[in-house]
């Protein structure tokens, strides 16, 4: 079973990666990137690496998603007021 689960997650990740790159809407691709992070968290958990999974969940997905989104907010606020 484990092989098929990993295969499915990888296919999802590849589709997500293409969508992140090809999306013209930046906030949209950040949300997709957080989804990508979630997929890799599941993969780390399957690969018996709970420490890495936890780190990726809080740092790689959580904080980096927030930082990306806030960057967009900063840029957006400048654009509106220009």
């Amino acid at each position: 079973m484990i092989g098929l689960i990993v295969l499915a997650i990888f296919i999802t990740l590849i589709i997500l990666a293409v969508l992140i790159i090809e999306n013209d809407d930046l906030p949209h691709s950040v949300i997709l990137f957080m989804g990508f992070g979630l997929g890799s968290v599941i993969l780390y958990f399957i690969f018996s690496a709970p420490d890495v999974a936890l780190t990726e969940a809080v740092i790689g997905t959580g904080i980096s998603g927030v930082v990306f989104l806030v960057t967009l907010l900063q840029i957006r606020s400048k654009e509106i007021k220009r």
Binding site: M1, I2, G3, L4, V6, L7, F10, I11, L13, I14, A17, V18, I20, I21, L26, S29, V30, F33, F36, G37, S40, L43, Y44, I46, F47, S48, A49, P50, D51, V52, T55, E56, I59, G60, I63, S64, V67, F68, T71, L72, Q74, I75, K78, R82
Partner: protein, 128 residues
């Protein structure tokens, strides 16, 4: 037939092909996208693909996490290698530090020039 899906060999091939594909997608993103934000997003994807590959290759079916729990009471070689996990843990934190710095530079640059495109960054050059 279903058994062959659970072999370590199959798992490793999936991991290799999958993470190489994600790496290639990220690389294409870095090369063709002109938006600075997208470029750093693509770098984050590339790094993720490396991490997944490195952790995945050190996993074999039936191996458990390098940790003592109620079921596992002794450290043995039937555990995944802790060194790559420690390395990736370190690298993830480094990745977010570099990413945050890059994004702060992008914010500052954008506030000064209203420009986010990498091929319009023409402040530097011999004539200037």
């Amino acid at each position: 037939m279903l058994d062959s899906f659970n072999q370590t060999q199959f798992l490793h091939s999936v991991i290799t092909i999958g993470s190489l594909l994600i790496f290639a997608i990220g690389l294409v993103g870095v090369l063709i996208k002109k938006n600075l934000f997208k470029i750093f997003l693509s770098f984050a994807i590339i790094e993720s693909s490396l991490f997944i590959y490195f952790i995945g290759m050190h996993f074999e079916v039936e191996k458990v996490a390098p940790m003592l729990t109620d079921k596992v009471t002794k450290f043995s070689t039937n555990m995944t290698d802790p060194v790559p996990q420690a390395m990736i843990l370190t690298t993830i934190v480094i990745g977010i530090a570099v990413l945050a710095l890059a994004l702060s530079f992008i914010i500052n640059y954008f506030k000064l020039t209203n420009n986010m495109r990498v091929d319009d960054m023409n402040e530097l050059g011999d004539e200037k």
